[in-house]
C-alpha cells in the first residue's frame, strides 16, 4: 500500500548506469569513473558509490583532541556515521576551462574562465592558480535526502544532529576528494597535473561566486544543488571549488595549510597542533 522515500533515504547510492556499449564502467577507488575522451567534462553527474565517512576527520570537526570516548558515545558516533552513509546519495560534477587573466568592468584584475561567464576576483585565487593553464570547476553534494534527515534530527535529538552534521562534513570532503581524483585522472591523460582545491569563501574569494558555479555546471539539474540568496547552497553538505591544472610536474608547494582559512585566528584545532587537513 505504501511507497516510501523515507527520511532515511535510499538505502544505497544510485546504481551505476551503463555506457553506450552496455557495459558497466570500471570502478576505481569506489568512484564510478567517467570515461571522458578529451577529459573536459565529468559525466553529466557522477553518482558515487560506497563513499565512507572518515571518522578521524569527523571527530576533528567535533573538536576531538584525544579525549577518551566512552562506549555509550562511541555507539552514538557509530550510529550517526551509519545514518549519514545511508541517507546520503553523493554526486559530483566538474568541468574544465582554460584560464585567462583579464580585467573586470571596473578595471580590477580578475581570472577569467574561457568558455564560461565566470570571473574570479581577488588576490588569493589568483595566487592559487598562478601558472595554471586550465581550471577545474567542481561541485559535490551529499544530496537532499541527507539534508532532510538533518532537519528531522534537529527536531528530535540535537546531539545526534551535531554528530550527523560532522559525519556529513567529513563525507562530503571524501566525495570532493573523489571528484578531484576523477578530474585529475582525466587531466593526467593530457599530461597535466593538478593543484589543490580552493573554495568560495576561502581568503578573499567571495561566497557570491558560488551561485555562478551552480549555473555554469548546471549543478541544479545535474546533482540537485541550488543556491540561496546569501550565496550558500542547499544541500548544506556540499562543496564547490576550483582546482588549477598545470603543464609539467608540479612541486608539492601548495599542500593544504591554514594560510587562507578564514577561521585561522580562533581555530582550536590549529592551536592544538591538529589542523583539520590531513
Amino acid at each position: 500500500m505504501l511507497e516510501e522515500h523515507s527520511a532515511s533515504g535510499p538505502a544505497q547510492p544510485v546504481a551505476a548506469t551503463k555506457d553506450a556499449s552496455g557495459e558497466s564502467r570500471e570502478v576505481e577507488n569506489g568512484t564510478q569513473r567517467a570515461l571522458n575522451g578529451a577529459g573536459r567534462l565529468s559525466e553529466a553527474a557522477v553518482a558515487v558509490e560506497g563513499a565512507k565517512v572518515d571518522r578521524g576527520e569527523m571527530l576533528r570537526y567535533l573538536g576531538h583532541a584525544g579525549q577518551e570516548i566512552a562506549p555509550e558515545l562511541a555507539a552514538r558516533i557509530d550510529g550517526a556515521v551509519e545514518l549519514c552513509e545511508r541517507t546520503s546519495a553523493p554526486r559530483f560534477s566538474w568541468r574544465t576551462f582554460p584560464v585567462r587573466r583579464g580585467y573586470d568592468d571596473q578595471g580590477k584584475p580578475v581570472l577569467k574562465l574561457e568558455g564560461s561567464t565566470l570571473e574570479l576576483p581577488g588576490a588569493d585565487i589568483s595566487a592559487h592558480l598562478e601558472g595554471a593553464t586550465e581550471c577545474v570547476v567542481l561541485a559535490c553534494t551529499l544530496g537532499l535526502s541527507n539534508e532532510r534527515e538533518a532537519r528531522r534530527l534537529a527536531a528530535v535529538d540535537a546531539t545526534t544532529a551535531a554528530l550527523f552534521s560532522a559525519a556529513g562534513s567529513a563525507l562530503v570532503e571524501t566525495v570532493a576528494d573523489m571528484c578531484s581524483a576523477d578530474a585529475l585522472a582525466a587531466a593526467k591523460e593530457r599530461g597535466l597535473t593538478a593543484g589543490s582545491r580552493f573554495s568560495p569563501g576561502y581568503g578573499d574569494l567571495p561566497l557570491s561566486v558560488q551561485p555562478h558555479i551552480v549555473r555554469i555546471l548546471g549543478a541544479d539539474r545535474r546533482i540537485g544543488m541550488t543556491p540561496t540568496q546569501g550565496g550558500f547552497v542547499v544541500p548544506a553538505k556540499s562543496v564547490t571549488a576550483f582546482m588549477g591544472l598545470f603543464e609539467g610536474p608540479r612541486a608539492a608547494v601548495d599542500r593544504r595549510s591554514c594560510v587562507a582559512c578564514p577561521a585561522r585566528e580562533r581555530c582550536m584545532l590549529r592551536k592544538m597542533g591538529t589542523p583539520c587537513y590531513r
Binding site: E3, G37, R95, V156, Q229, V234, E265
Partner: protein, 870 residues
C-alpha cells in the same frame, strides 16, 4: 492568497448564489469548457484521441553554436531572433507540431537586470510563430531556487515568479503552458496554480527523475501523476532525466495513475566529450525504437530533451504520423500523497490517520501552539510516523491563534520531518485553503458536512487544490440517529462533490461516532451506516474511533473492540492515537485478516516471540492524560528490555547502585547517561527540596561538565550528552514540584541571522541552554531582523543570541542588532559563530561574544543572575 475563499465572499456580498456553476462563471473555479483550446485537433489531443509531436533540445543546439557556460540562452530571443527561429524551423520541418519557446529560465529571478520577463516571452513567442509551428508551447522551467522549508524561497515568491511568466506567455499569444524539468513537487504545484489562476490555456506538466526512479526531492512517478492529475493539469509526464529506454518504467507508472494524456521528452542518453565536442550516446534510430515502447506504454505527447535534434524528431514523426493512440483504460486510484509517499487504498486495505496533532483536550500541545514550540509538534509528528501512522491529522484551532498562518507554517515544517501525507483539519475554510495551497502533494481536507453553506465553501477548495475530503454525516438538523438518515446526508455530500468535479474516490465519509455511554443505541447504527455508504455509494469511510468509549472505564479496551467491529463493517481509515498499543494490535491483526498484510509477513515480524502484555493501567486513554499515555506506550511487545533504555554495563550498575543518590546523579550527568538521571532525581525528591536538587546538584554537575569542556578534558558531544542527561532530571522536578518553585531561570531568543542557513551551532546552543533550565524561543535560520525584534517585544525578552557562520552574513547580524537597538533598546545581545571574534562582536554592536555553547551558558547565568539581583 486565497482565490477561492475570496471569490465566494465576493459573490455572497453581492447576494449572488455561489455554487459550482457560479464559481465557474466567475472564473474562480477552472472549467474544461472554458479552456482556450486553439483548435479541434488540440482538443482531440487533450482527449487522448490524437498524438502530439513536440520539438527537441534547444540548449544543446545553442551550445553547439557556441553559447558560453553560464550565459542566459533566453536573451538570444531578443538579440538573435533569426538564429532562434532557425532552430525552431528545423524542428517544424522535422515534423514538430508544437514548438517550445526559448524561455526555460526566463523568470525575474534568473533574468535579473538583463531583461524583462514580458519582453523575453513576447520575443520568444514571435520566434516560434515565425517558424511556422502549429502550436506555441510557452516553456516554464524551475525558479532555480529551492523552496522552504529545505530551501529559502517562500512559496508565494515562487508563485509570483511563475505567475509573471504565465501572464507574459498568455499575453504574447502562446497556445500551451509547458511546465517542465521540475524536481520539487511543491515548486511544480506553485507553477500549476500560477498557470490555472492566471490564464485559461491548457497546462502540460512534466517532472524529471533520477536513476533511482525518484526526483532529487524523492517524488516518485506515481506520486507526481496522482498529485498533478488531482490538480487538474491537461497532460502530465516526464522530461529530461535519462534516455528513452530508462524512462519506460516511469511512463508505465504514470500512465497507470492518471487518465489524462501522458507526455514524454527523453534525453538522448548521457553526454560525453569526444574530440572536444559533447556527444550523446543514443542515436536517433535507437531513440525512436525505445520511444515506440513509451508510446505503447501510454505516452501520446512526445518530443525530445537534452541531446536530441531534428534528426531525432523526424524519427519520432514517422512513429506517430497517421496513427491514433490506443484508448487507455485507467482504473481510478483512491489515495493521497506527500512529496515522497503515496498512500493508496486497494480492495479492503486500511490506513491509519494519527490524531495527536489536535489541541482539543491536550494541554501540552495547546501550550506548544501558544508559545510557538514547533519542535514539540514535530516530535508528535515523528513519533506517530514511527508508531506506524499512514496519514497525520493537523489541527491548529485555538481561538487566540491566527489559524491560517499557524496551519500554513506547520504544514511546511511537518512535511520536512515526515513522509506521511497530511490531513488538514479546520472548520475555517480560509485556513484550509491557506494550508492546502502550500501543501506538497494531495492532502485530505477534514472536513465538509451536509450543510449547504459549508458544502459551498469547502468543496471548491478541495477541487481547486486537488485534495481528497472527509464528509461528515451531519447537516442543518445536527447528527441524525439512524443509519438511513446518516446515509442520506452522505449521499448528498457525494453528489454535490461530483457537481464540482470531485470524483467519489476522493470523498471519504465519516459516519460520526457517538459515546456508547450516552447514545448506546446509535453505536450499531453507525456500523450499519458505514456498510451502507461503502456498498451503495462506493466510497471509503473514516471514523474518529475513541469517542465511543467516553465516560467508560478502561477506554482502550472499548476502543479496540469498536475498531475491530468497524473494520468488519467496512471502515477504511480510522482516526486514532497510533501510539496506543491496543490500537496497533487491532490494526496489525486486521491487516492479516483482510489480506492487506500478505502472508502475514509484517505481523509475524512484529509479534513473533512476544507474550501478551497484562491489561493496561487504568489511566484514561485520551483527553488530558493523552500526553503521558503516548510516552509510556512504547512498542508494546519488546517485553524483555526495560523501557528505561540501554542498561549500563554490569560493573557500572553495581557501582552506581552502591553510591548515594546525589553522587549517582552527578555521575549520570557527567558521564551523559540520560536514562538513569530521572531515576536518581526521583529518589532524591523524597528527601530534598526541588530547588535544592536544581541548585545544589543539577547545576553544579553541569558546571563541572562546562569546566571540563573549557579545559579540553571533554569535547563537544560529551558536553551535549551531559546537558541531555540533565533534562529528564529537570522534567521530573517540574512534574513533581509546584510551578513557582521551578519557574524557568530566564527567557531568551536565538536566531541564525538573515542570509545564513547554517543552524547547527545555534541548535547546539539552544539545546544546552534549554537543558540548563532556560526557556528558549528558537526563531530558526535565515531570520528576518524584524522577526527578532517582534519576538523580543512580544515576549518582553532581556537577552537575544545571534549566530552567523560566514563573513558575508555578519552583515545580517549587524542589521539585526541595529534594529534591536532602535526598537527594543533594553535588550542585550550575544553573538557567536565560526567567523566571529571578540573584535567582530564589538564591531557589529553586540554586548557579548560567546566563543562556544558552554560560554553562552555562562553568559546566561551572568545576565539572568544580575537580573535576579535587581
Amino acid at each position: 492568497m486565497l482565490p477561492i475563499t475570496n471569490a465566494i465572499q465576493n459573490l455572497r456580498e453581492q447576494g449572488k448564489p455561489c455554487g459550482a456553476e457560479a464559481l465557474r462563471e466567475a472564473g474562480a473555479l477552472c472549467d474544461s469548457k472554458r479552456l482556450r483550446i486553439k483548435d479541434e485537433y488540440l482538443a482531440r489531443v487533450l482527449a487522448g484521441e490524437e498524438y502530439l509531436l513536440f520539438d527537441g533540445a534547444m540548449g544543446t543546439m545553442l551550445q553547439g553554436a557556441g553559447l558560453a557556460a553560464g550565459e542566459l540562452p533566453e536573451l538570444l530571443c531578443l538579440t538573435n531572433p533569426q538564429e532562434v527561429t532557425a532552430i525552431h524551423r528545423a524542428y517544424v520541418e522535422a515534423g514538430s507540431q508544437a514548438v517550445t519557446t526559448n524561455t526555460f529560465g526566463a523568470n525575474a529571478r534568473k533574468l535579473g537586470d538583463a531583461a524583462r520577463v514580458d519582453e523575453v516571452f513576447k520575443a520568444a513567442v514571435e520566434c516560434v510563430r515565425a517558424s511556422g509551428a502549429r502550436y506555441v508551447a510557452a516553456d516554464i522551467g524551475p525558479t532555480g531556487a529551492l523552496l522552504e522549508p529545505l530551501g529559502t524561497l517562500p512559496f508565494d515568491e515562487a508563485y509570483d515568479l511563475f505567475a509573471e511568466q504565465v501572464r507574459a506567455a498568455a499575453a504574447a499569444g502562446a497556445d500551451i503552458i509547458l511546465i517542465e524539468t521540475m524536481a520539487d513537487l511543491l515548486e511544480m504545484k506553485a507553477a500549476v496554480l500560477a498557470a490555472k489562476e492566471n490564464c485559461n490555456l491548457p497546462v502540460f506538466a512534466t517532472m524529471t527523475f533520477e536513476e533511482d526512479g525518484r526526483t532529487f526531492l524523492g517524488t516518485s512517478p506515481r506520486i507526481a501523476a496522482m498529485t498533478l492529475a488531482a490538480l487538474g493539469v491537461q497532460a502530465l509526464g516526464v522530461n529530461c532525466s535519462l534516455g528513452p529506454a530508462e524512462l519506460l518504467p516511469i511512463v508505465r507508472e504514470m500512465a497507470a495513475a492518471a487518465s489524462c494524456p501522458i507526455m514524454v521528452q527523453a534525453n538522448a542518453g548521457l553526454p560525453k566529450m569526444v574530440d572536444g565536442h559533447t556527444v550523446y550516446e543514443v542515436t536517433p534510430e535507437s531513440y525512436a525504437r525505445d520511444a515506440a515502447a513509451l508510446i505503447e506504454a501510454g505516452a501520446s505527447i512526445v518530443g525530445g530533451c537534452c541531446g536530441t535534434s531534428p534528426a531525432y524528431i523526424s524519427q519520432l514523426s514517422a512513429l506517430v504520423e497517421r496513427h491514433r493512440p490506443v484508448p487507455r483504460d485507467v482504473r481510478a486510484l483512491c489515495g493521497v500523497t506527500s512529496a515522497n509517499r503515496a498512500v493508496v487504498l486497494e480492495g479492503r486495505d486500511v490506513a491509519v490517520i494519527g490524531e495527536r496533532i489536535n489541541p482539543t483536550g491536550k494541554k501540552r500541545l495547546k501550550e506548544a501552539l501558544r508559545t510557538g514550540n514547533v519542535d514539540y509538534i514535530l516530535n508528535e509528528a515523528i513519533g506517530q510516523t514511527e508508531a506506524g501512522a499512514d496519514i497525520l491529522d493537523v489541527n491548529a484551532g485555538l481561538p487566540e491563534l491566527d489559524e491560517a498562518a499557524v496551519l500554513c507554517d506547520l504544514v511546511g515544517r511537518i512535511q520536512s520531518v515526515t513522509g506521511c501525507p497530511l490531513q488538514i483539519d479546520s472548520s475555517d475554510p480560509a485556513a484550509v485553503e491557506a494550508a492546502v495551497r502550500v501543501y506538497a502533494g494531495k492532502p485530505i481536507v477534514n472536513s465538509v458536512n451536509g450543510k449547504r453553506e459549508n458544502l459551498e465553501a469547502v468543496l471548491p477548495v478541495v477541487k481547486h487544490y486537488g485534495c481528497a475530503v472527509i464528509g461528515l454525516t451531519l447537516d442543518e438538523n445536527g447528527i441524525p440517529p439512524t443509519a438511513e438518515e446518516r446515509f442520506a446526508i452522505a449521499e448528498r455530500i457525494v453528489r454535490t462533490a461530483e457537481s464540482y468535479g470531485i470524483p467519489r474516490e476522493d470523498v471519504f465519509i465519516d459516519c460520526l461516532v457517538m459515546a456508547a455511554a450516552t447514545n448506546q443505541s446509535e453505536v450499531v447504527e453507525i456500523l450499519r451506516a458505514i456498510t451502507m455508504c461503502k456498498e451503495r455509494l462506493g466510497v471509503r469511510t473514516v471514523l474518529g474511533v475513541s469517542n465511543v468509549s467516553f465516560g467508560l472505564p478502561l477506554r482502550e479496551v472499548v476502543n479496540a473492540t469498536f475498531l475491530s467491529a468497524a473494520f468488519a463493517a467496512g471502515l477504511d481509515m480510522p482516526i486514532l492515537n497510533p501510539n496506543s498499543a491496543r490500537y496497533r494490535e487491532a490494526v496489525d491483526s486486521w491487516r492479516v485478516l483482510c489480506g492487506q498484510d500478505a502472508g502475514a509477513r509484517h505481523y509475524v515480524e512484529e509479534y513473533a516471540g512476544r507474550t501478551l502484555s497484562p491489561s493496561s493501567a487504568p489511566a484514561g486513554a485520551s483527553g488530558a492524560a493523552g500526553g503521558a499515555q503516548a510516552g509510556s506506550a512504547q512498542p508494546g511487545g519488546a517485553a524483555g528490555s526495560a523501557a528505561s533504555g540501554v542498561a549500563p554495563s554490569a560493573s557500572n550498575a553495581t557501582a552506581e547502585a552502591n553510591a548515594d543518590p546525589e553522587s549517582q546523579l552527578r555521575h549520570c550527568i557527567v558521564s551523559g547517561r540520560r536514562a538513569q538521571a530521572a531515576d536518581a532525581v526521583r529518589t532524591l525528591l523524597a528527601m530534598h527540596d526541588p530547588m535544592d536538587i536544581i541548585d545544589a546538584m543539577l547545576i553544579p554537575a553541569l558546571d563541572e561538565v562546562g569546566d571540563k569542556f573549557e579545559r579540553g578534558t571533554f569535547f563537544l558531544p560529551q558536553l551535549m550528552a551531559s546537558a541531555e542527561a540533565a533534562k529528564p532530571g529537570f522534567d521530573v522536578i517540574r512534574e513533581a514540584a509546584p510551578a513557582d518553585a521551578t519557574a524557568t531561570k530566564g527567557e531568551l531568543a536565538l536566531a541564525t541571522v538573515k542570509g545564513d542557513i547554517h543552524d547547527i551551532g545555534k541548535n547546539i546552543v539552544r539545546m544546552l541552554l534549554e537543558n540548563y533550565g532556560y526557556k528558549v524561543y528558537d526563531l530558526g535560520r535565515d531570520v528576518d531582523p524584524q522577526a527578532v525584534v517582534d519576538c523580543v517585544r512580544e515576549r518582553g525578552l532581556k537577552l537575544v543570541g545571534l549566530s552567523a557562520l560566514m563573513t558575508t552574513t555578519v552583515r545580517g547580524m549587524e542589521e539585526t542588532i541595529r534594529l534591536l537597538r532602535e526598537q527594543t533598546p533594553d535588550v542585550q545581545v550575544f553573538v557567536g559563530g565560526a567567523v566571529l571574534t571578540p573584535e567582530y562582536a564589538q564591531m557589529v554592536g553586540a554586548d557579548y561574544y560567546a566563543k562556544d555553547a558552554a560560554e553562552s551558558a555562562k553568559l546566561c547565568a551572568k545576565v539572568f543572575g544580575e537580573n535576579h539581583g535587581e
